[in-house]
C-alpha cells in the first residue's frame, strides 16, 4: 500500500518538477550569457497558456496528428514513473527494466517522428529523418550502456542497480565510460547543444523543433511537457545509476523519503547546472558531425563492456 503511494507520489513529482528543471536550466543559461533570462517558473506559465488556447490544425492533418501528442506524453510519463527518483521500491518498477524504459522512450520518439511527417511539409520531414538518424546511433549506445551497467550489477532492474552501486561503490573504468556515454546520449536525446538547439528556429539547423512545427495549443503543450519530462528522465537515470546516494529504501520511514526527495532535488539542480555549463562552453555541430559525436558514445559503451572482462570481477 505504501509502495503504491510512493508510486503515485513519484508520478506527480516528475510531472511537477519537469518544467521546473527546464526553467532552471534556461535561467542559469541566461545568467551565464549575462542575460537576465525568464523567471524560473516561466515554463509553467507557458504550458498553462498553451493548454487554454484553441488548437489550430492544418487542413490535411489526420487523427494520428491529433492523438500523437497524448501518446508521446503518456509513453514518456510512464518511462519517468519507472525510474526511481527519490525512493526505490516503486510498485511498478518491476513492470519494466532499463531496456524496456529505453524502448518506451523509443516508442515516444517513433510517434513524434511520425506526426512530424503527417502534415506533409518539408520541415516536418527534415526533422523526422534527422531525428531517426540520431536515434539509430543513440539507441544502440544506450543499449551498450545498459549492457555495461547490467553486467556489473548483474541486473537490468533499476532498483537492483541502485542497490548495487550503493553497496559496492568502487572505481570502475567501465562505469566511468558508461557514465560519459550516457551523458552524450542524454544530450543528443534531449536535443541540446551541440546536437540540436532547443531555442532555435533557424530552419536548416533544427531537428526537434522542425517536427513539432505544425503544433499549437494543447497539443504543443503536451509535446513540450513530454520534452521536459524526458530531460528529467535522463537526469534521473544518471542519478539513479551512478549517484544513488540518498535514495530512500523500500518501506522506509517518512524521514527517509524526505531525505530522498531533498537529495533528488539537489541532484536535479546539479545535473541541470552541469548541463548548462557544458552547453555554454561548446558550439553547435553540423548535422553530419553528430554521428561522430554519437559514435563516441557507442564506442565508449562497447569499450566499457569489453573492459569489464579484464577487471577483477570476471
Amino acid at each position: 500500500m505504501r509502495d503504491l503511494a510512493v508510486q503515485g507520489a513519484q508520478m506527480l513529482l516528475v510531472l511537477v518538477l519537469a518544467p521546473l528543471l527546464l526553467g532552471f536550466t534556461r535561467k542559469v543559461k541566461a545568467r551565464m550569457l549575462r542575460r537576465r533570462g525568464p523567471p524560473v517558473l516561466q515554463p509553467y506559465r507557458d504550458l498553462l497558456r498553451l493548454i487554454r488556447k484553441e488548437a489550430v490544425i492544418a487542413d490535411n492533418a489526420s487523427w494520428l496528428f491529433r492523438s500523437g501528442p497524448y501518446m508521446i506524453f503518456a509513453a514518456t510519463w510512464v518511462a519517468a514513473a519507472l525510474v526511481p527518483t527519490f525512493a526505490t521500491g516503486l510498485t511498478f518498477s518491476w513492470a519494466a527494466d532499463l531496456i524496456a524504459i529505453t524502448a518506451l522512450l523509443g516508442s515516444a520518439r517513433f510517434f513524434l517522428a511520425l506526426v512530424g511527417m503527417d502534415v506533409g511539409t518539408s520541415f516536418g520531414g527534415i526533422g523526422s529523418s534527422r531525428e531517426m538518424m540520431f536515434a539509430s546511433l543513440a539507441e544502440p549506445a544506450m543499449i551498450m550502456i545498459v549492457f555495461t551497467v547490467a553486467l556489473v550489477a548483474g541486473s537490468t532492474q533499476l532498483s537492483s542497480i541502485a542497490h548495487y552501486t550503493l553497496t559496492n561503490a568502487s572505481l570502475r573504468v567501465s562505469l566511468g565510460l558508461a557514465l560519459v556515454a550516457l551523458i552524450i546520449v542524454a544530450i543528443a536525446e534531449n536535443a541540446r547543444i551541440p546536437v540540436d538547439n532547443p531555442a532555435t528556429h533557424l530552419e536548416l539547423t533544427m531537428v526537434h523543433e522542425a517536427m513539432v512545427l505544425e503544433y499549437s495549443g494543447r497539443h504543443l503543450a503536451m509535446i513540450e511537457l513530454a520534452a521536459a519530462v524526458k530531460l528529467l528522465v535522463y537526469v534521473s537515470l544518471i542519478a539513479c545509476i551512478f549517484f544513488p546516494w540518498g535514495l530512500a529504501p523500500p518501506n522506509g520511514d517518512l524521514a527517509a523519503y524526505a531525505t530522498g526527495a531533498a537529495a533528488y532535488l539537489v541532484k536535479l539542480f546539479v545535473g541541470g547546472f552541469l548541463l548548462v555549463l557544458f552547453e555554454t562552453s561548446i558550439a553547435k555541430m553540423r548535422v553530419f558531425r553528430v554521428p561522430d559525436f554519437l559514435g563516441i558514445a557507442l564506442m565508449l559503451g562497447l569499450l566499457g563492456t569489453l573492459l569489464l572482462f579484464v577487471s577483477r570481477s570476471f
Binding site: I51, R52, K53, E54, V56, I57, N60, S62, L64, R66, Y70, M71, F73, A74, A81, W94, A95, A96, D97, A100, A103, G106, S107, F110, M117, D118, V119, G120, T121, S122, G124, G125, I126, S128, S129, M132, M133, A135, S136, L137, E139, P140, I143, M144, F147, L151, S155, T156, Q157, H201, E203, L213, E214, R218, M222, V287, F288, G301, F309, F314
Partner: protein
C-alpha cells in the same frame, strides 16, 4: 491420431489445388478455394495448438506407403513440429482470409489458384516429415510451388529475373540439404529421423555448415539472401506474406530440426559461425531495407533482418548448450522461437497492408503514394500496429522477443570461451543498432506511404480495401497486441519445445503475479507488457480527459504553417529517398559505397539540375558476380560438347564408364 488429422488437412489443401485447376474460369472460384484453405489451415492450427498445450506430444509416427518403396514416408508430430505447424497454419489462415477479398482482383487466377494451396500443403508436409526423404520431397515441393507463384505475373521481365534467381538459389539450397542428410544418414542409409538421431553423425561440423547454407539460403541469411528481396515482392501480396512470414520460418524449422535434434551434441565454434553471420544479416538487412522505396521490397529486405535476429537467438542457444548451460540455452531458444511466431504475425500483417495499398492504388512505389491515412483509415491503423510491433516498441510483441534475446545476451559472460564472451556483446550492439534502424525504416515506410499529402492522383483517389482483407489485418493486429501484453502464455506454450531440444525450460510464467515475465529471477530482470500497456492507456486517457475537461477542446482548421512558406505542391514533401539520406550518408558510404553526384547546370542554362545516387550491392559484386561469370565462362566452353560426332559421344560414355569402374576397383 493428430498426425492423421494434420495429414487429412494437407490432403484437403492439395485437393483445393486440384479444384483450383478445375474451376479457374468460374467467377466464384477464387473465393471458394481460399475459403477451403482458410478452413483447412484453421483445422490444422486447432489440432497443433491442442496437442502443444495438452502436452501429450510426441504423437506416434505414421508411415504412408508412398515414395521409395523400401522406406515409405514417415510423418510425426512432436512439440517442435507442433509449434511450427501453429506458425505455418496461423500465417496460412490469415493469408487465406486476406485472399478471400484480395484474390478477387487477381487478373490471372489460373496462375495462382492451383499453386497456393499446394504451397501451403508443402510447408505443412516439411514440418510433419519424419524421414529425410519425405523432408526433402516436401521441401522441394514447397520451393517449386512458391516459384510458380513468384512467376504468376511473369509478363514483367523483372519478375522473370526474380524467378530465375530464386529457382537457382532454391535448387542450390536443396542440394546442400541433400548432402547434409547424406552425411547424417551415413553409409548405412538410415534415412528415418529416429535412426539418424540414434546414430552419431559423421563430420558434424560439415553437416552444420551444409545445413546452414541449405536452410540459410531459404531463410535469407547474408550472403545467401539475394533472391529474397527479388522473389518475395514479385508474388501476389498474400503469397508474399506467406513467403516472408511463413516460408522463411519453415527454413528456420529445418535448421532447428537438424542442428538441435538430429545432429547430437553441439560444439562451441558452431555458435560463433551462426552468431557472426546472424549479426551481419541483421545490420545489412535493415540497412538495405532503408535504401528501398518499393514498399514490398522494403518489407522483404526487412525479413532478412528478422531472420538475423532469430538466428542470433539460435546461435546463443547453441553456444549455451555446447557448454552445458541448459537454462540460458532454453531462454535463448525461447527468444528465437517467440520471434519466429511474432515475425510471422507482423510481417504477414504488413504484407497484407502493402497488398491493400497495391490494390487501392496500383502502386508499390512509395514515392507515388502518400496521405493514404485519410482514404484508408482502417488499413492505416492496422499497418501502423504492424510497424510499431516490428520496430520492437513496447507494449507490442516484437519488443518481447527482442527483450528476451537481450536478456540471453546478458548471460554470455558466464560462457567459458573467450571468443564468445567478446563476440556476443558486439553482436548485441549490432542487434541494438538494427532495432533502432528498424524504427527509422518503419517511420519511413508508414510516414511516406500513409502520412503527408498524396503525391499522385491515384493516391488521392484511393479507396478502403474489402472486408475480408480488413478482417485478416485486424485479427493479426490484435494477435500482435495480445502476444505483446500476455507474453507469458506464449512462453509457457514453448516450454515443451525447449524441454525436448535443450533439456530445460524457462521458469513457468503464467503463475507469476500480474502476468509479468521473468527470464531468470525477478531481481535480475522482469517485464510486464500488460501493465505497461495499461499504464500507457490509463495515462493517455487521463491526460485527454483532464485537458478536455478543464482546459480547451476547441479546434480550428487552417492551412499548414510550414514556417511561413507553405508550398501547395506535394512534390516539396520529404520523399522516401530523402528520408533515408542522412542514414545513407552515415552508414551507406561504408556498407554500400553509396555516393551522390550533383549535376548543377551553370547559370543561364535551362536544363534541370540532377542528383543521382549510386548504391552498390557489395554482396552481389563480391560473391555472385564472380560465380555467375565463372558459370557463364565454363558453359561457353562446354558448349562445344553439343557439336560432337556420334563416335565421340560414344567414346565419352565409354571413358566415363571405365573410369568409374576404376574408381570402384581401387576404392574397396
Amino acid at each position: 491420431m493428430p498426425v492423421a488429422m494434420a495429414l487429412t488437412g494437407v490432403a484437403v489443401l492439395l485437393g483445393a489445388g486440384l479444384l483450383g485447376i478445375a474451376l479457374q474460369r468460374l467467377p466464384g472460384a477464387s473465393r471458394l478455394v481460399y475459403l477451403i484453405c482458410f478452413v483447412a489451415c484453421l483445422a490444422i492450427l486447432g489440432v497443433a495448438c491442442a496437442e502443444l498445450l495438452a502436452g501429450t506430444l510426441p504423437a506416434p509416427a505414421m508411415r504412408l506407403p508412398v515414395g521409395l518403396p523400401w522406406i515409405g514416408a514417415h510423418y510425426r508430430m512432436d512439440a517442435l513440429s507442433a509449434f511450427f505447424l501453429v506458425v505455418v497454419n496461423l500465417g496460412g489462415a490469415g493469408a487465406s482470409l486476406f485472399a478471400i477479398g484480395y484474390g478477387q482482383h487477381e487478373k490471372a487466377p489460373g496462375r495462382v489458384l492451383p499453386f497456393y494451396p499446394a504451397f501451403l500443403g508443402g510447408m505443412n508436409l516439411v514440418v510433419l516429415a519424419d524421414d529425410a526423404f519425405a523432408f526433402l520431397v516436401a521441401w522441394e515441393f514447397m520451393s517449386l510451388s512458391s516459384w510458380a507463384l513468384v512467376m504468376a505475373h511473369h509478363t514483367d521481365p523483372e519478375n522473370r529475373r526474380a524467378g530465375y534467381i530464386y529457382i537457382v538459389m532454391a535448387s542450390f539450397g536443396t542440394l546442400t540439404l541433400l548432402l547434409a542428410f547424406g552425411l547424417l544418414a551415413g553409409s548405412g542409409g538410415g534415412y528415418a529421423f529416429s535412426e539418424i538421431r540414434s546414430a552419431p553423425a559423421a563430420l558434424p561440423g560439415v553437416v552444420l555448415i551444409l545445413v546452414l547454407i541449405g536452410t540459410g539460403s531459404k531463410a535469407g541469411l547474408v550472403p545467401l539472401h539475394v533472391w529474397l528481396p527479388l522473389a518475395h515482392p514479385a508474388a501476389p501480396s498474400h503469397v508474399s506474406a506467406l513467403m516472408s512470414g511463413v516460408m522463411t520460418k519453415v527454413a528456420v524449422y529445418g535448421f532447428v530440426r537438424v542442428v538441435f535434434d538430429l545432429l547430437g551434441p553441439a560444439t562451441w565454434w558452431w555458435s560463433i559461425l551462426v552468431i557472426g553471420l546472424a549479426g551481419i544479416t541483421c545490420v545489412l538487412g535493415v540497412l538495405s531495407a532503408l535504401m528501398q522505396h518499393d514498399l514490398k521490397r522494403l518489407l522483404a529486405y526487412h525479413t532478412v533482418e528478422n531472420i538475423g535476429i532469430i538466428f542470433i537467438g539460435l546461435g546463443l542457444a547453441l553456444a549455451f548448450s555446447a557448454h552445458g548451460m541448459q537454462a540460458p540455452a532454453a531462454l535463448a531458444l525461447t527468444a528465437a522461437l517467440l520471434h519466429v511466431f511474432n515475425h510471422c504475425l507482423f510481417k504477414s500483417l504488413l504484407f497484407f497492408g502493402a497488398g491493400a495499398v497495391l490494390n487501392a492504388t496500383g502502386e508499390r512505389d512509395m514515392e507515388h503514394l502518400g496521405g493514404l491515412i485519410h482514404n484508408m483509415p482502417l488499413t492505416a491503423f492496422a499497418f501502423l500496429t504492424g510497424c510499431t510491433a516490428i520496430s520492437a516498441l513496447p507494449p507490442l510483441n516484437g519488443f518481447v522477443s527482442e527483450w528476451l534475446t537481450f536478456q540471453a545476451i546478458l548471460l554470455s559472460p558466464a560462457l567459458p570461451s573467450w571468443g564468445l564472451k567478446i563476440i556476443v556483446p558486439a553482436v548485441g550492439a549490432m542487434l541494438a543498432l538494427s532495432a533502432a534502424l528498424a524504427a527509422a525504416c518503419f517511420v519511413k515506410a508508414f510516414g511516406v506511404t500513409f502520412l503527408g499529402r498524396p503525391r499522385t492522383p491515384v493516391a488521392a483517389d484511393a479507396h478502403e480495401t474489402d472486408r475480408a482483407s480488413i478482417a485478416a489485418m485486424f485479427a493479426f493486429a490484435l494477435l500482435c497486441l495480445l502476444a505483446g501484453i500476455l507474453p507469458g502464455l506464449f512462453i509457457d506454450g514453448l516450454a515443451p519445445v525447449t524441454q525436448a531440444l535443450v533439456g530445460a525450460r524457462m521458469p513457468a510464467q503464467t503463475a507469476l503475479p500480474w502476468l509479468s515475465i521473468v527470464p531468470i529471477a525477478e531481481s535480475r530482470s522482469s517485464y510486464n507488457g500488460l501493465l505497461v500497456f495499461a499504464f500507457i492507456a490509463f495515462s493517455t486517457l487521463l491526460t485527454v480527459e483532464i485537458i478536455h475537461r478543464f482546459a480547451s477542446r476547441a479546434v480550428r482548421r487552417g492551412p499548414a504553417w510550414d514556417c511561413g512558406f507553405p508550398d501547395p505542391s506535394p512534390a516539396t514533401q520529404y520523399t522516401a529517398d530523402s528520408f533515408a539520406q542522412p542514414i545513407r550518408r552515415v552508414f551507406g558510404a561504408v556498407v554500400f559505397r553509396a555516393s551522390e553526384r550533383v549535376d548543377m547546370p551553370p547559370p543561364g542554362d535551362a536544363r534541370p539540375a540532377h542528383l543521382s545516387v549510386i548504391v552498390r550491392d557489395l554482396v552481389w559484386e563480391a560473391f555472385y558476380a564472380p560465380i555467375a561469370s565463372l558459370v557463364a565462362g565454363s558453359a561457353e566452353r562446354l558448349n562445344r560438347l553439343q557439336f560432337l560426332t556420334i563416335r565421340q559421344y560414344l567414346s565419352l560414355v565409354f571413358v566415363a564408364l571405365v573410369s568409374l569402374l576404376l574408381v570402384v576397383s581401387i576404392w574397396s
